[in-house]
């Protein structure tokens, strides 16, 4: 059987790079049976596929709800001269499908990212907050200039949007929109897709973007344990996230980055610890001390320092003393957390 290797060289835009890796895998495989492997080699993702390469993309890959969320900042106008970005992406993938696959077989291919790229497409802030206009240009004195949009070559852009549409987990709170994606350290496509689909349907606590990120990461670890998914099938090392702030008009950039899963992997040795964290995040929907607990726990999960540990612990004790109905840590589960408090 023929084997192919595709290379996705990293540009430094973490989420954009990971979406390209997932997008390339789905472009090659579509929704057909069989598996494909994505691996993170530090400077590049490598997508390995065994079998006959398709000549055309699977038509089903252009369906789904994800597309609308990516291009939510695009304003449709009746007199618009430009096509909708989804149509542009579809056009690139249908017309230049072989070219897309071919250039990614070259280990030296790097995406072109600039203010102006020939035949380029706009990189939306929804798939990487670094692409937001205000981030790159200095404002001089009183003059106000919004900045120009970042463009990326159409081949890289198309597969990134494809990956975002099918693998991005979009969560919306009262004042924020976030996109979450586990970094494919070493994953088999089908298992990763199942994990992502399960997580998208989960009801996460969306009090704030940090709580959503922490809750998502905890659920991810629980899911991997529940389905007894081994590291040879799916191994994630971090969760990539992108946060936008809702405004009266278009969403504005709020932050983004990478959350390393080391701490959660350590505490996951005691499964009940994760279950307990999940219970506390689930209480976060209720205003008052329960919501405060979820927020303090999220701070601790994202930065397991002694200071955050004490803040959370004191709050939980207050809830207990106030006779609130909160779950109890036992010496085994809380002890497991204490083992991994940093800088102590």
């Amino acid at each position: 059987m023929l084997g192919y290797r595709f290379f996705v060289n990293k540009t430094g835009l973490d989420l954009f790079d990971a979406f390209r890796a997932y997008g390339l895998a789905i472009a090659v495989k579509g929704f057909k049976p069989g598996d494909i492997k994505i691996e993170d080699f530090g400077s590049a993702y490598v997508v390995q596929f065994e079998g006959e390469l398709p000549k055309y993309p699977d038509s089903q890959i252009f369906g789904g709800d994800g597309w609308r969320r990516i291009f939510r900042t695009f304003r449709e106008r009746k007199d618009a001269k430009r096509k909708h970005p989804k149509d542009i992406v579809k056009g690139v993938l249908v017309q230049d499908f072989n070219k897309v696959l071919q250039i990614h077989q070259d280990p030296d291919f790097m995406p072109q990212i600039d203010d102006k790229v020939k035949d380029g497409i706009t990189l939306y802030q929804s798939i990487d907050v670094s692409a937001a206009k205000g981030f790159r240009e200095t404002k001089l004195c009183k003059s106000y200039h919004e900045g120009t949009q970042i463009q990326v070559d159409k081949y890289s852009g198309a597969i990134a949007y494809l990956g975002a549409a099918h693998f991005g987990c979009w969560q919306e709170g009262v004042d924020f929109i976030t996109c979450l994606l586990p970094n494919p350290f070493k994953v088999l496509f089908l298992s990763a897709r199942q994990v992502q689909r399960d997580l998208t349907n989960e009801n996460l606590c969306r009090v704030s973007s940090s709580v959503t990120l922490a809750h998502y990461s905890v659920r991810l670890m629980i899911l991997l344990q529940k389905h007894k998914i081994t590291d040879s099938e799916v191994a994630y090392d971090s969760v990539l996230f992108n946060v936008m702030r809702k405004t009266g008009q278009q969403p504005k950039p709020a932050g983004g980055g990478r959350y390393e899963l080391d701490f959660l992997k350590e505490v996951a040795q005691e499964r009940e610890t994760l279950i307990m964290m999940d219970k506390i995040f689930n209480m976060g929907f209720v205003k008052g001390i329960k919501q405060d607990m979820a927020m303090r726990l999220a701070d601790f999960v994202l930065d397991p320092s002694l200071e955050n540990f004490r803040k959370y612990q004191n709050l939980h004790l207050r809830a207990y003393l106030n006779k609130e109905k909160v779950p109890h840590w036992n010496d085994r589960t809380w002890g497991e957390v204490m083992k991994h408090v940093q800088n102590v």
Partner: protein, 112 residues
């Protein structure tokens, strides 16, 4: 593994932690809890522990008066010496955090 867990397992911390848990749950001694949360140096820590022991002792005596056939749990003098030594060696913030942790957690069987 963090040093904190070793402290959590230390007999002196366990003994004082259990006393704090009883003091908070049975005698509603929230003052000691607040004082332990805000100590910043060893002098304040020693003072807070002394005050806690005074309050705990009166609570324990009351318990023994009300339950003549039972004796209340009390940390020993050696536990106190060890606790102060641990605070000097490891810092008061870590030791206080582990004491409060004992007040927070339920033994595994009880929690189930």
């Amino acid at each position: 593994m963090s040093r904190m867990y070793e402290l959590f397992q230390n007999p002196a911390v366990k003994s004082f932690g259990m006393a704090l848990r009883l003091a908070v749950a049975q005698h509603e001694d929230y003052a000691s809890l607040v004082e332990l949360e805000y100590v910043e140096n060893i002098q304040q820590f020693t003072a807070a522990v002394k005050k806690f022991l005074r309050r705990y002792d009166s609570g324990a005596r009351r318990y023994e008066r009300e339950h003549p056939d039972k004796s209340a749990f009390k940390p020993t003098e050696d536990d106190l010496t060890d606790l102060i030594k641990l605070a000097e060696e490891n810092g008061v913030d870590v030791v206080c955090a582990t004491l409060v942790a004992h007040a927070l957690v339920r033994p595994a069987k009880e929690a189930e």
